[in-house]
């Protein structure tokens, strides 16, 4: 389980501290899913960096019980253009010191699962955005994570590719029992993928509302009335926040 207790983050500028996040508290159950949404510049990415351990909070604490293996997908995928698709996917295992055979088998298996068979020797620059995203997902999954952090993983994709990949992420979360935490600026994505939705305020980011969205978790949810209802509600909350911002 992931517990965030009044976590804060500030960057120092000389003697002044520029607050990015203030008093953030929420929790994510094991095998649960959580979407973090908020206006742009509200510190969503910083929050994900805190959760993934890439940054340390300057106030409060973040507790992850059981020290689970984690996988992270950064904005713009974070793939290495000088490594082939196969090398990118296998990198986490190589870093852990896995032998060549094991890396090779795992890479083949993931290429198959992600529909990338035949692209192992390609470079990321030769693939479409949707395929690159699947490579990033495969790389994060290679180490069998128990918790998966994603920072706007689908923001640069076209609508149809987006939906297909949302389904893929849903499938990963459900079938592999991976706790997922997703940062997004898309209302539909948050409602489709987050059983719990954390809405952040404008900068400095605070928790504006925590929306329980227990029906998320099946592919057909998109076609239900409740889905539209949740989207509308979330939009209203965010709209209120934007209205305060500027006329």
């Amino acid at each position: 389980m992931l517990k965030v207790k009044s976590a804060g983050l500030g960057f120092r500028h000389g003697s002044a501290v520029n607050p990015v996040l203030q008093d953030i508290s929420f929790r994510v159950e094991a095998c649960g899913s959580c979407a973090i949404i908020g206006p742009s510049g509200c510190g969503k990415t910083s929050l994900l960096f805190l959760l993934a351990g890439l940054l340390q909070p300057t106030a409060g604490s973040i507790e992850i019980t059981g020290n689970p293996r984690s996988g992270t997908i950064l904005q713009n995928f974070g793939l290495f253009p000088w490594k082939t698709v196969g090398q990118n996917i296998g990198l986490g295992l190589v870093i852990q010191g896995a032998n060549r055979d094991r890396v090779h088998r795992r890479v083949e298996q993931l290429l198959d699962e992600m529909g990338l068979v035949g692209f192992g020797e390609h470079y990321p620059g030769q693939l479409s955005g949707g395929m690159q995203q699947r490579v990033a997902l495969a790389r994060a999954l290679a180490v069998d994570p128990e918790i998966l952090f994603m920072d706007e993983p689908l923001s640069s994709l076209d609508a149809l590719t987006r939906e297909r990949l949302q389904n893929l992420i849903l499938d990963v979360w459900q079938s592999k029992k991976i706790t997922t935490v997703l940062v997004t600026h898309s209302i539909e994505e948050a409602v489709f993928l987050g059983k719990r939705i954390i809405v952040l305020s404008r900068r400095p980011g605070r928790v504006l509302r925590i929306v329980e969205n227990s029906e998320a978790g099946c592919i057909d949810y998109r076609q239900t009335e409740n889905y539209f209802h949740q989207c509308t509600e979330l939009r209203a909350i965010l709209q209120g926040e934007y209205d305060g911002q500027e006329a």
Partner: protein
């Protein structure tokens, strides 16, 4: 291949221009190209130039390699480690613009007048060209790549191995390309005195004897040496830098 044809065509045009200049100038100091080429092929066929060609090639190549294997690790470290860069960059600023050729007397006192002094001077000059470029390349690697490595749990050595070095390789190769031209120029300088071998000596000796055809034969061989190094570098680049050609 189209590129090969283009190079041959360019060579042909240069030869024609040379021929026209020689005919117009009617000077001993500019013999006609076919005379020079006949002399070159003759000397290569009877083996009288092969020793000089071999020794010049090895001096240039060893100088470049010595510079490469010292400048690249140092440049990567200075570029990637902020504190090291802060401490060492002022020295580079001061030492880089010094015309290192003037250190020749000192080098000769230290290392004698043998081959090592010649190789050392070539290496010294080329060293700074590669060092500065490598440092700048390592310094400007996008943060995302480091974050991605951090999420995979990489050690410092692994970050060098998988990110800093491969990301810098294209610029290192560009530096090498510039270095080849410099190395050949310095090669001529160090071979123009205190030696009786090498293409530089052939050129100076022919000049002294007013053997202008021999002089141009030396020049042609030196150009061919530089050109061969370029071709070698192209081949290496295609092998280790395939990803830059994928867009």
């Amino acid at each position: 291949m189209g590129r090969k044809r283009d190079i041959l065509f360019a060579a042909l045009i240069l030869l024609v221009l040379w021929e026209i200049s020689a005919l117009l100038l009617k000077s001993m100091a500019l013999p006609e190209p076919w005379v020079v080429l006949l002399d070159t092929f003759g000397k290569l066929a009877d083996g009288s130039l092969l020793d000089d060609l071999a020794i010049s090639s090895s001096r240039a190549l060893l100088g470049i390699l010595l510079a490469l294997f010292t400048a690249v690790p140092l440049g990567l470290a200075i570029g990637a480690e902020k504190s090291l860069g802060k401490r060492l960059s002022p020295f580079i600023y001061l030492l880089y613009p010094v015309p290192h050729v003037v250190l020749l007397p000192l080098i000769i006192i230290c290392f004698g007048i043998g081959n090592f002094s010649k190789i050392f001077l070539i290496a010294l000059i080329v060293f700074f060209q590669i060092l500065v470029t490598t440092r700048d390349a390592a310094k400007n690697i996008h943060r995302n790549y480091f974050s991605a490595m951090q999420t995979l749990g990489a050690s410092k050595w692994q970050i060098y191995r998988h990110v800093i070095l491969p990301a810098s390789v294209p610029k290192i190769l560009t530096a090498m390309r510039i270095s080849i031209g410099t190395a050949v120029a310095i090669l001529f300088f160090v071979e123009s005195f205190a030696t009786t071998t090498g293409l530089g000596y052939i050129i100076m000796d022919s000049w002294g004897r007013a053997d202008y055809v021999g002089l141009y034969t030396g020049i042609i061989c030196m150009a061919a040496l530089g050109f061969s190094l370029y071709l070698l570098l192209d081949r290496i680049e295609r092998r280790i830098c395939a990803w830059t050609q994928t867009g």
